[in-house]
Symmetry: D2
Subunit: 479 residues, 4 copies
Amino acid sequence: MEPNVSVGDGLPPSAASCQSLGHFCGVAGVRSPEPVDIPRTLFYMLFSLQHRGQESCGIAWEEEGKWRSRRDMGMVAPALGRYVQECHLSSLGIGHVRYSTAGGSGIQNAQPIVVDCNKGRIALAHNGNISNGGELRNGLTAEGSIFQGTADSELILHAFSRSRKPDREGFLREALEPLEGAYSLAIMHEDALVAARDPSGFRPLYIGHSGSKTFVASETCALHALAPMDYREVEPGEVVIVDDAGERSFFLEPKRPPKRCVFELIYFARPDSEVFGRSVHAARVLLGEALADQDSSGLGADIVIPVPDSGNISAIGYARRSGLPFDFGLARSHYAGRSFTLPTKDQRELMVRLKLHAVPEVVSGKSVVMIDDSLVRGTTSRIIVNLLREAGAREVHVRLAAPELKWPCYYGIDIPDREQLISNRLDPEGIAREIGADSVRFLPVARLLEVLNGDRGFCSACFDGHHPFPLKPGRKDDR
Amino acid sequence: MEPNVSVGDGLPPSAASCQSLGHFCGVAGVRSPEPVDIPRTLFYMLFSLQHRGQESCGIAWEEEGKWRSRRDMGMVAPALGRYVQECHLSSLGIGHVRYSTAGGSGIQNAQPIVVDCNKGRIALAHNGNISNGGELRNGLTAEGSIFQGTADSELILHAFSRSRKPDREGFLREALEPLEGAYSLAIMHEDALVAARDPSGFRPLYIGHSGSKTFVASETCALHALAPMDYREVEPGEVVIVDDAGERSFFLEPKRPPKRCVFELIYFARPDSEVFGRSVHAARVLLGEALADQDSSGLGADIVIPVPDSGNISAIGYARRSGLPFDFGLARSHYAGRSFTLPTKDQRELMVRLKLHAVPEVVSGKSVVMIDDSLVRGTTSRIIVNLLREAGAREVHVRLAAPELKWPCYYGIDIPDREQLISNRLDPEGIAREIGADSVRFLPVARLLEVLNGDRGFCSACFDGHHPFPLKPGRKDDR
Amino acid sequence: MEPNVSVGDGLPPSAASCQSLGHFCGVAGVRSPEPVDIPRTLFYMLFSLQHRGQESCGIAWEEEGKWRSRRDMGMVAPALGRYVQECHLSSLGIGHVRYSTAGGSGIQNAQPIVVDCNKGRIALAHNGNISNGGELRNGLTAEGSIFQGTADSELILHAFSRSRKPDREGFLREALEPLEGAYSLAIMHEDALVAARDPSGFRPLYIGHSGSKTFVASETCALHALAPMDYREVEPGEVVIVDDAGERSFFLEPKRPPKRCVFELIYFARPDSEVFGRSVHAARVLLGEALADQDSSGLGADIVIPVPDSGNISAIGYARRSGLPFDFGLARSHYAGRSFTLPTKDQRELMVRLKLHAVPEVVSGKSVVMIDDSLVRGTTSRIIVNLLREAGAREVHVRLAAPELKWPCYYGIDIPDREQLISNRLDPEGIAREIGADSVRFLPVARLLEVLNGDRGFCSACFDGHHPFPLKPGRKDDR
Amino acid sequence: MEPNVSVGDGLPPSAASCQSLGHFCGVAGVRSPEPVDIPRTLFYMLFSLQHRGQESCGIAWEEEGKWRSRRDMGMVAPALGRYVQECHLSSLGIGHVRYSTAGGSGIQNAQPIVVDCNKGRIALAHNGNISNGGELRNGLTAEGSIFQGTADSELILHAFSRSRKPDREGFLREALEPLEGAYSLAIMHEDALVAARDPSGFRPLYIGHSGSKTFVASETCALHALAPMDYREVEPGEVVIVDDAGERSFFLEPKRPPKRCVFELIYFARPDSEVFGRSVHAARVLLGEALADQDSSGLGADIVIPVPDSGNISAIGYARRSGLPFDFGLARSHYAGRSFTLPTKDQRELMVRLKLHAVPEVVSGKSVVMIDDSLVRGTTSRIIVNLLREAGAREVHVRLAAPELKWPCYYGIDIPDREQLISNRLDPEGIAREIGADSVRFLPVARLLEVLNGDRGFCSACFDGHHPFPLKPGRKDDR
């Protein structure tokens, strides 16, 4: 993955436009029979899920019988920090971090969405993308529903309200089963916390317990941030309900083959997390090892360096398998990524220079294997390779711990238009020429899936174009 | 009216809690066949309507076929100023300023609300209060509608969408006619600007024309801010539609007797505005004259001073009729009302001292007639009377250009709970004792209506309890 | 005075560039043998002196034997409010508000300046301008002094340190007596509060007592803001020292004829203040009456209106003497003057429209006498006269409660360059033509001084060019 | 080094109080005969030196013959970013980042300081600490100098001004030679850029050339950030002057044995920098190798992990020499360190949990060697060791790539009071018990110096108490 060279985090995404790939969201939820400071707990959980979305964030919680919510643009700490200075005793709450595509930016799409309807009070936090959302939206609109935002989350709430099943399990089933695509949901409904995951299981979702408290989170790192606790994956198609009657779950129909998003393991999830029942760190080491196997005939390289931090762990795997020394040939500024708009856009190269630094001691005179997780547009990689050359690197071999990225994603990842993806324009030799590398090599899809136990069921549509659900567009609000 | 002693404007209302009476909203709209910079135009109009709501504000506009909107908490200049730095060519837009009751505060209630529904795209800005809103909301909820906020505006949009009449006039009629209470609306629907006013005409609404451009605003001051233009009142019950086919209007059924809010003339509207077809300034002079008539037997006073600025104009009327000299015995700081939270709440007296200053030269040794527009809780008046005494006033006679305020308003004014209203606790002599005045006198309701041509039809429910529409509560979301 | 049409207060002065006349500063000081919350007390005093300077502000105080200070750009409430949320027990402190000329803007010129020198710890807050400051600065620089800012205040501190007199009275005398020009000073020196005023008495300075506490302030309004108390003027040339040994004062040599700044009474001071031993309000009424006397042969006017708020009080005087009715023909927005940068500078007219509103009811069809305090560039007056015409005024007669402004001030007022002053370009008839008025009339200097008891000694150099001290420039740092 | 667990960067240091060791400053300077955008160039250089100081920052530059400066509290991007949006053509400028001890915080100590004096205009940026500063300050104060801040930098400027040598080399020599302690200076004097370094060479200083432009910076990373260029160390005791006459240098008397700060190599400098003529990265690898040599008898460990990022490079060295695998057992949040004040101080453990995450996959069931650069108070290390235990680590052996930290620094490092340093309270076994480690081991001073070529002359006073210059305190301003 090209490093995020933005020095404008905290700004709307249009200002921090150099983000290469975007992830839609992360969700969190807490239920405690004994009232505790749930807004602050959610704050810590969302802080740990910040990597899943930096555009907006929000929390909703019960407090003395009332429902309160705070949503704001920006990062968790500045946007929500002021609301958790005081204790808010609560028994139920959910939270959300959001990264949005350009079109749907704005506070009206921030989550959780809290509504009052014939099922009572419901709040919803959603990670994913409903591939038949446009179609369903058209249907609901025809029946008289109004849509205030463009996010699929509003659609799901409408579906809850439109259901004629009065009971919780009933309307959840009736609303969720027609949905195609990806959703991992944290829901508040009256006194219940609900966690639901689509039958394909595109996005991760975990549930944990500590004492009488229940926690729901996109990744286990949000649970670790609080305390050691028992946890398990919410299964694909599973809906878990926790209310005064206890915890129970049911499965949505129809069952579907699992389609876990392989990019969660490659790039999105935090390395200390478990997603899809496996360690993210371990998966990345395996990918690095598989890359090294490809070069086993020998590159004559001297050293393996990661593009920090996205390439760190695969580089460990590559170094171990290849026997080449691992070193930090690129240093990363701790202070980049702060509020600052660079004067002009053509200074992208300067932005990378402020963020990443080649270490001459490590690379001078060396043949370097540079490991990154994937390649999107190639522009940043070109600059990094040049930094290494300036620092004296004799050869630069770029290795990507992923296949060639060529297709859009309809299940929650924001991938640039196809024509912007370098792998749609050039083969590896062409890419090497364009970014100034001596060689460039990817991991084939088959190998990727083999390494990650493909029989467990992964979605690799962004690499191979095999979309489990095609996109069914509807008339979309053009905001 | 007690002066607003807040030194915390720009903060959420809970911080600036000393606001005495709150007004719900102001609306604005622009349509121009020739694209112009409508966001900036709306900015100037909303700036001129700022006195009608300081909690949040927003604009929605068409731009190159897309609809865009910006809503934020706070005052017009800081909240929207940054969005109007660049020109946005547009042919249609509406705007809103909002003051909210404590319960309904928050960005989810900011307007305009923009929705996508089976009638197409609609944006709505609403001033008023629907007295059967709870009841209607219950009905809509039962049918499957979801409510994201607590404001009546969302209700109106649901009603548009639920209507089976496909044509614009049809669904407007079908949605609006069941509404009881107050609404002055600026609406965007596809290519049309719509202005609508409830049949009782509680809240003001004006329409103006300049060249081919059409403007809608709560008060004429928002039109004057742009340029001299022709304007007229949108009549009670009138709905004006301006689209590519031109401008036309129809009237809602049933016709009702007009119930113009008398408090608009007493306090809310800006003195340079016309509302309800009459000059606000002129009305206030008449009220001051009527007050003087009540004291015609002689108070032995030396001087008439207003509480700035709410008592300014009535004081002019009082002075003219009584023959007593008018003077500025209280000065007002230009710098109060800025962002600042006073350390402790018990420093209310200090807050008033920072905001208002008695001028010893004017009042020392004098018997003073102090004119204000109305009396709510009486706390600020007590402090002001004390300031005058400290500055040497021999006698202080408080005269209010309104009747005793005793009842709630269901049509868009935020009046404190009945037990907080000083006129529900005390008679004028008791009030005089409590605030330290030598005498206190109000204007009787009958006299008020007589002065203002009562046959034109005013609502004076907050003074006399004669509510044209009783409140019909529904199950309300408790946010 | 033309109204301040800025809608950008709180911004640096370059952004809020339409301020017509600027005042340099206001000072405050408190000493209490019993420790009290002096930072908060100074906050309230500076808030009341905000009209004397809006660019930067600061406070310095003793706390537990240490000296602390806070200085920041901007208005008192946002800049200092956060520092007074908690109580800081203290026995001594001073404060300052500053308006600066364009060149000297910046935090390095904010006051109070706190220094450590051979006289111990000294903090200084200065209102005025030293006309031989450049010359003295050259001398000190030659001896090895370094200057970090461009303000005269630093010069005074250097002079204290350079003095060989070790005792407080000694070094104060030695440092202050060579100064020419204007200074009203609040000084902390070790345990003492010192108030000092130049022998000409250009700028006002008051001292008040409440219990064992001593207060120093530029105007009495800063004392009234706290509590009723006894106060007196610090005399021209007087230096008052308050320390553990009690309060005493001495007079600087040589004695000079008093040269009180007449503009303080005309415009700068707050109307509820006393400055130079007389009520500001009373002075302005007298000026209005004198204006009316000039028109005694009859204008045939119908009504007298002030430009709010600068013309308010003189308009009262004019109306009383002329017998014409006083009314509010111009309304002023309470919400202008907030943080907002207008998109383009050529929208000055729009800025005035947002700030001031003509009231058609008052002026339509009338011959209007419009009273303002003075005329600087004339640009705003032109717009206001046009507003009155648009609202239907038949005739507009502009009357200024001051002479024609023609000269610079070397003693603390920021007057635009001579070529920008309309009275240097045009005679009253020419001005009337340029601003679109039917007539324009000023108050002659002789009449002004006569009205204000000229024998008391006023400086009217900005009107007549008779500068008590010529400017003696030195080599100035060109920041 | 314990990781900085602050989640409050950007706030004043009192809020972000968990910083373990502080560095005083970084300096930068640019001179270009051809005017270029020097403020922006300095911005990029200071951005690259941000790790040397986060409390305040500033730039001063020549522009069209005038000197301008901007100083503000906080980080480079938010504090200075807005000033570099527009181009400022300039031929000369300097900049500074500052970290301050608790006492001397505040804008009055921000640099560069710009003064006007008998040598003309001088601006100064200083990194270091003058150990006889108090004494010299007393002397200058006695002669009449005034001090506005507590920083030594003001002292140096006074000394320039007091010198009777009129020529540049003369007054530089006369002012600098009496100074004891540490200083690396970037100075603007009229048309000249001056770089000066104390004869002991405590702090690094580099000079680089690119075309006709000259650059000065504390570390080479600030030069690399701009472009590849030639550079060299400014030698201990060397003063380089670059003016219209070209570049020349002289050496201060007396010559002294070099005393380079060893902590620059251990922790402060950026790994991609060269300081003291050697690669920081290479030095840290050597320290890690030396640590491994100490454990050569065998620990039975399974894995080597760094505390990111301070232990990264030494961990590489340890892993290589020991043959143990290197891995990322601790992950670091990219989003911590943003503006956020944690509700209560006792949540330090939670703060570390938000910042650092143990990776179970890596450490579970393992005996772990955890490498950090040094140990200050030990509180954070205790929490980290506990994180590793929670993640399943069987044994945790803590290795520090530095000796035991026991003494204060008088030359520019902010070390906590002696009683807070864990190595003054406990021996390694005691430390191991307190932080919950199975063992703790440091690098002896002799070995450290041997590894780093001690004959080159290092200061290791913070480890061994051998201070080259004792502290000579004077009467200090107690702010």
